[in-house]
């Protein structure tokens, strides 16, 4: 089966030859992989897919390729502090692992921190043609073979909090909803324009995202989510699907969000990502919502991949295939970019187990 057929089959709730696979990495883990495979990497690897060569993804046998337009591309822009085109300030935060050192880019400057800053704020222009050059090229190069995902994650809430400040945007949602709404409109409109353009260019799926879960509960109440996020997401999904009725839509949120899964199904979501196993039991979520929703993720990036043994990784994947993968509807993926603290033995066990386990053997 071609990778794109494999994904299409799974997303139609049917059983492909093997479970589709998608894996993203931090730039440092990508470097380690290049080294391990004796490949020559080119440029900084963007885990969201902006400007990537897709060499690693294709060599590994992944089935979906990602191309990103939007604020999420501001991550990993530089190795020294920078201000992105949204005027959001970033700092460099180094860390050490047993396998070397790396750095994260972290948001530290919020251009809308002052209440009245919004009045003369100019967001970037999502209609600049050059924003879509890389996407146009990769669709031309790879769509015949791969399932292409247009990435516009950090769609509403996450960009809004970067603009305003994390605690402040949540205070606003309680105390100054008009301002919270006005701020959320900015990334919402930007990413909707970007997503529509990506659909016109021919992506198979749009991936939206905003982290709404903490480890053990929602960050904001379901009531507040229904007030601020649900209507925008509903309209976003409706507008992009009106351009292509066969388009699939995936949504990313970390953490525990089961109270809003029925709402997500109601507004037309096709695929939920990443189902963090420490927060929600993927088998249970499949049982409850698997008739209406597909799942992308489920491999524990908080415990199993960094701290487990290769046998734990293998056991977890087999368990997922038997439970969440039953009758298709699953794309296996780590629940976050693979981090530098992951032993290569675990990584290869993940890749090999997914690649070498036909559905017929489960």
């Amino acid at each position: 089966m071609k990778p794109r057929e494999r994904v299409e089959t799974a997303l139609n709730h049917e059983i492909p030859d093997r479970c589709p696979m998608q894996i993203s990495f931090t730039p440092e883990f990508a470097d380690r992989l290049y080294h391990d495979m004796q490949m020559k990497g080119r440029g900084i690897h963007n885990p969201h897919g902006g400007g990537n060569t897709y060499e690693l993804e294709r060599v590994l046998g992944e089935d979906m390729l990602l191309t990103s337009v939007g604020w999420a591309n501001s991550y990993y822009l530089d190795d020294k502090p920078y201000i992105d085109e949204w005027d959001i300030g970033w700092d460099i935060q180094p860390y050490q692992t047993p396998f070397g050192s790396g750095h994260y880019t972290e948001i530290v400057g919020h251009p809308l921190a002052d209440d009245d800053a919004i009045s003369d704020y100019q967001p970037p222009d999502p209609t600049r043609p050059e924003l879509y050059d890389a996407s146009r090229q990769m669709i031309r190069d790879f769509k015949d073979e791969y399932w292409i995902v247009g990435v516009t994650v950090t769609t509403i809430f996450e960009t809004a909090w970067a603009l305003r400040g994390y605690e402040q945007i949540m205070l606003d949602m309680s105390l100054n909803p008009d301002l919270a709404n006005a701020i959320m409109e900015i990334p919402y409109r930007y990413h909707l324009t970007a997503a529509k353009k990506l659909v016109e260019l021919g992506v198979d799926m749009i991936w939206i995202g905003d982290d709404m879960g903490t480890q053990d509960r929602m960050l904001i109440s379901p009531i507040m989510w229904r007030q601020f996020l649900k209507p925008r997401m509903a309209n976003f999904i409706a507008e992009i699907k009106s351009l292509n009725p066969t388009l699939k839509v995936a949504y990313h949120t970390d953490g525990k969000v089961d109270p809003i899964i029925p709402d997500l199904i109601e507004i037309g979501l096709d695929v939920l990502n990443p189902i963090q196993p420490a927060s929600m039991d993927p088998a249970q979520i499949k049982k409850e919502y698997g008739d209406h929703l597909c799942f992308w993720g489920t491999i524990d990036e908080q415990r199993t991949l960094p701290f487990g043994k290769p046998s734990d990784v293998e056991a977890e994947i087999r368990h997922r295939l038997r439970t969440v993968g039953k009758d298709g509807g699953l794309i296996l993926s780590p629940t976050h970019h693979v981090q530098l603290d992951t032993p290569l033995e675990n990584f290869w066990m993940m890749v090999n187990t997914i690649s070498n386990t036909p559905y017929s053997s489960i």
Binding site: T97, Y104, M218, S221, Q302
Partner: protein, 234 residues
């Protein structure tokens, strides 16, 4: 005689009404904090202070029970982070008014705590919530901020007579700094002086046990209970 009797009756009258007024103030302060109404909290605390209600009483019977209610509502799933933040903001505003008065009283804090995210980690909302809930439970809180090195934690223990250290991490790649910091505190000869509690998305009780921390809490409300228990053990 008559005058004396009247004085006594008057004093009793004042006393009873002041008592009623005090109870009302405290109850209203509590309600304002739980609702997250900062302006009402400020007005009510100021009115209570003006009516000679003791600052210590405002703290112990107004603000602390309110934040305890907020923690309970969070644990029960009725409150989420935004509701907790606005209650914390109201509580802090009330506390600012009485702080100068508390400084002159013989009130002892429930304990002295230093909190921070470990070196390499800038994700601070969990740490902030723990800090504010501890403050709302009567602890003296030194917020060391984010990206706090082992040396900074040690310095805080040495200079502030800290009973308890609270470390936070969101990431699996920064979480090992909790062990590094705990070991550094031990090497500095300070481990017996402080209790260490940890929290953050990837943290579990098993990890706390592994690195020799005294406890783990999954959220800010439970962190307060843990801190009270540990400080009381000392």
């Amino acid at each position: 005689m008559d005058d004396g009797k009247h004085d006594l009756q008057y004093a009793l009258f004042i006393h009873l009404n002041l008592g009623v007024a005090m109870e009302q103030y405290l109850e209203q302060i509590s309600q304002a904090v739980v609702k997250g109404d900062q302006n009402a909290t400020i007005e009510l605390v100021q009115a209570a202070v003006d009516a000679q209600v003791d600052a210590n009483t405002i703290m112990q019977k107004g603000l602390i029970p309110a934040m305890s209610d907020v923690g309970r509502l969070y644990e029960q799933g009725e409150y989420f982070v935004p509701e907790m933040l606005i209650s914390a903001r109201a509580m802090k505003a009330g506390l600012e008014i009485i702080k100068p008065l508390l400084a002159g009283s013989d009130l002892k804090p429930a304990g002295t705590v230093a909190v921070g995210t470990v070196k390499g980690d800038l994700h601070d909302i969990g740490k902030n919530l723990v800090g504010i809930m501890l403050e709302g439970a009567g602890f003296s809180v030194h917020d060391l901020g984010t990206d706090v090195s082992p040396e900074q934690f040690i310095e805080a223990i040495r200079t502030n007579q800290v009973d308890l250290i609270g470390m936070s991490a969101l990431l699996t790649t920064t979480m090992p700094m909790m062990e590094t910091t705990t070991n550094a505190i031990t090497r500095a000869g300070l481990r017996n002086q402080v209790k260490i509690i940890i929290g953050g998305a990837p943290i579990t009780q098993a990890y706390a046990d592994k690195i020799g921390a005294d406890g783990f809490a999954p959220d800010a409300s439970q962190a307060v209970k843990l801190a009270i228990n540990l400080v009381n053990q000392r």
